[in-house]
Symmetry: C2
Subunit: 130 residues, 2 copies
DNA sequence: CGCCTTGTTGATAATGATTGTCAATCCGGT
DNA sequence: ACCGGATTGACAATCATTATCAACAAGGCG
């Protein structure tokens, strides 16, 4: 049976405050700074569950797992600023079809895919130029 | 100045023997089994360099870095069996353009992308069914 | 060929993220 | 309020990767 705890809700809320992907460590640190007594292991566990539920998105970077609150129930991808982490959810209609097709062409079944676009956001590009 | 060592060549060769992505740990273990006295740190260092050179491809999975020999000088992506690791290099022409476009639409510059397709290869699918 | 400079190696320690442990705690149905 | 089991959290344990640093060896030179 699944229970409702203030910890789960606290993680959900803290995650929602960030536009960018964050690590479990970073999220835990931020929550602590804001006075929450939540434990590190709980943050790890909760984020993993949220990702399973589809409530959060997971991104692997440099062997680190980064999470982000995402609009549930929708399949989408991300455009991420590699400098500041600013992230935008994007549709990838042409890619969905392409992925299915290329898998089928090679006799692969149950296809899934990982698609992320990185770049410099307008603000970071301006700052780098200035 | 860059020197030629038997270690570098040994890693290149061992990497080429595998159709699938392998971890530094796994590659080192395999090399040792085959009698090579190469050190673990060297395998890590060499794989990282090969990836920089574009001689090897890098894939992040479960917070693990996996490497694979790749045809140098070509931009391509991978279709990977999530059961046995069998990997096929694939072209993604439509995706290249799409990625550039979606980045531009949101004011992002210097776009790059991560695109991988996973699935069950024919052999693994058959084995799962039988 | 032998010497020297310096990039490279490898055993080991150190780091850092993540997971396991397990008793104490808390949720929620009765 | 009571009970059973899910959840928590401090801490230890694990796992991949990186840093150290003394010993080694590649290759240019005389
Ligand atoms: Zn930015
Ligand atoms: Zn998609
Ligand atoms: Zn397979
Ligand atoms: Zn591409």
């Amino acid at each position: 049976m699944k229970r409702n705890t203030w910890q789960r809700e606290a993680v959900r809320e803290a995650l929602g405050e960030s536009e960018a992907f964050v690590s479990a460590q970073a999220l835990h640190a931020r929550m602590r700074e804001e006075g929450s007594p939540i434990g590190l292991a709980t943050v790890y566990r909760t984020l993993a569950k949220l990702a399973e539920d589809g409530t959060a998105d997971l991104l692997q970077q440099d062997g680190e797992q980064l999470y982000r609150a995402c609009t549930p129930g929708t399949h989408h991808h991300h455009l991420i600023c590699r400098r500041c982490g600013l992230t935008v959810e994007i549709e990838a209609k042409p890619v969905e079809a392409w992925a299915r097709q290329v898998a089928a062409e090679h006799g692969f079944t149950e296809p899934s895919h990982v698609v992320d676009v990185f770049g410099l956001c307008a603000e970071c590009a301006a700052r780098a130029a200035g």
